[in-house]
């Protein structure tokens, strides 16, 4: 048709990439991470077996950087850039969506700080060989414990609101009714992640293994 038509702006592509990375792979990794760590709910031995399997995957560093570290780094840093280009007005317009907009930024930042610290203590200091014992030892520290809880709640909230955002922003939920349904899905995801995350923390803290009877000796 017209030759003057322009290609999508770089900011368009980056913004879409930011949105996409939030769900894939970052959100998916959060799900995987909660899933594999919930092995603690079965048995410390089960936890160490699962950890060992993950710690001995082939191409480990490539997989970690390509699917975990770099996407989180990009999503987090670009998220801060997006934050700086917005100007919150929630005091003048205290509507739910507007509050979520603000909370999405603070929970993202908290998650970013938490993930950095979490990687340092559970990945760097242990040379990538954390075990049930090393994690349980960290959880014994009340400050560590508190940061774990805050980090889990912030990440779960951020993912829940994020799923809702994602469904709206890619036009997968368009009508007001569909967007309300997407919002309910976000709530379910946020609550489910918070719940499982806190169960895992309790498991380490109290040496509590509600699914112990599932365990089968190797």
């Amino acid at each position: 048709m017209s030759d003057t038509a322009s290609q999508p702006d770089a900011s368009y592509l980056l913004r879409k990439l930011h949105s996409f990375t939030g769900v894939l792979p970052v959100g998916a990794f959060l799900a995987e991470h909660f899933w594999s760590n919930s092995a603690a709910l079965v048995d410390p031995r089960k936890y160490d077996e699962v950890s060992r399997d993950l710690q001995t995957i082939p191409f480990r560093l490539v997989v970690e950087w390509a699917f975990i570290f770099l996407p989180i780094l990009f999503h987090g840093l670009y998220g801060i850039y997006i934050w700086l280009r917005g100007k919150s007005n929630v005091s003048a317009y205290p509507w739910v969506g507007n509050w979520q907009y603000v909370a999405q930024r603070y929970t993202g930042l908290i998650a970013f700080a938490y993930i950095g610290w979490h990687l340092y203590t559970e990945r760097w200091l242990t040379h990538g060989k954390s075990t049930y014992a090393t994690v349980a030892q960290d959880m014994a520290n009340p400050w560590y414990l508190a940061f774990f809880v805050v980090g889990i709640l912030a990440s779960s909230f951020h993912l829940g609101v994020g799923i809702w955002n994602f469904l709206c922003k890619w036009g997968l939920a368009t009508t007001a009714k569909a967007q309300e349904a997407a919002g309910r899905l976000g709530v379910v995801i946020g609550v489910a992640f918070s719940f499982v995350g806190i169960l895992i923390v309790l498991s380490f803290r109290l040496n509590w293994h509600p699914f112990a009877f599932y365990y089968i000796n190797k």
Partner: protein, 250 residues
């Protein structure tokens, strides 16, 4: 005789964009069905402040007085609203009037919405029907499309949706919900759809739809009840599909 009820109005005044701002308070006689434009007219008739100082009439925009022209948007008690439909009896007093903050100030309560009109031009928010010869009849519009398009055509370019949007600010040239909703309107029309690709490309350009962060304030602030979040989601879907197909298929 009981003394007539008073209406207290507090107006932010500024002679020009670079002049200092000041507040002036007025005490007006209450009348039934009084709205904010009537207050401003009463002040113009007798421009004397509450403490008896003579001043100048307040500059503001208005035209239709029935929420149809879009010119009278301003901050009323801190919220973006149409002055002609803001009834005094429903407002907390003193009624605080300030200009919209997201558009360049002209004077007092009058702002310049040129940014919106430029954005409408960028996205070709019209249906081209003129040619050098008679183009013949266009395709028929289905009743379904008519029913969806009609509410979108109610936009009065008042700018309230830009005013309340956290993504519209001095660091960010986001075109805002109204413009995106017009893209949807003209793209859904069978003749307008002939320029669909160009509109979507414009909407993916600088300050385009990507700047929306889904705070969803626009839909709450729109005086015409336009389903703006639905429009943004629809255009978002068309946009990324086009970007993806353009990438793969050239």
């Amino acid at each position: 005789m009981a003394e007539t009820k008073k209406v207290i109005v507090k107006v932010k005044r500024q002679a020009g964009p670079n002049d200092p701002a000041r507040r002036e308070e007025f005490s007006l006689s209450w009348r039934p069905s009084m709205n904010v434009i009537i207050c401003l007219r009463d002040i113009a008739e007798n421009p004397v402040t509450r403490d008896g100082k003579k001043t100048t009439p307040i500059t503001y925009d208005s035209n239709c007085l029935e929420e149809i022209c879009g010119s009278c948007a301003m901050l009323i008690n801190g919220k973006a609203r149409m002055a002609c439909s803001a009834l005094v009896d429903q407002l907390e007093q003193p009624i605080r009037l300030e200009p919209l903050t997201k558009f360049p100030l002209v004077r007092d309560l009058s702002v310049d919405r040129q940014f919106m009109f430029e954005s409408l031009k960028r996205v070709k928010a019209w249906i081209p029907i003129d040619g050098t010869y008679h183009l013949g009849e266009g395709p028929r519009v289905s009743p379904e499309v008519q029913a969806k398009g009609y509410p979108l055509s109610h936009c009065i370019t008042c700018g309230n949706c830009l005013e309340v949007c956290p993504q519209v600010n001095e660091h960010n040239q986001f075109m805002g919900a109204a413009i995106i909703s017009q893209v949807r309107l003209f793209n859904m029309h069978p003749t307008g759809a002939m320029n669909k690709r160009e509109r979507l490309e414009a909407v993916m350009g600088p300050g385009g739809i990507q700047e929306c962060a889904n705070a969803q304030n626009c839909v709450k602030a729109c005086p015409k009840g336009i389903p703006l979040t639905e429009s943004i989601a629809e255009v978002n879907r068309d946009a990324w599909k086009q970007a993806l197909l353009g990438w793969f298929l050239g």
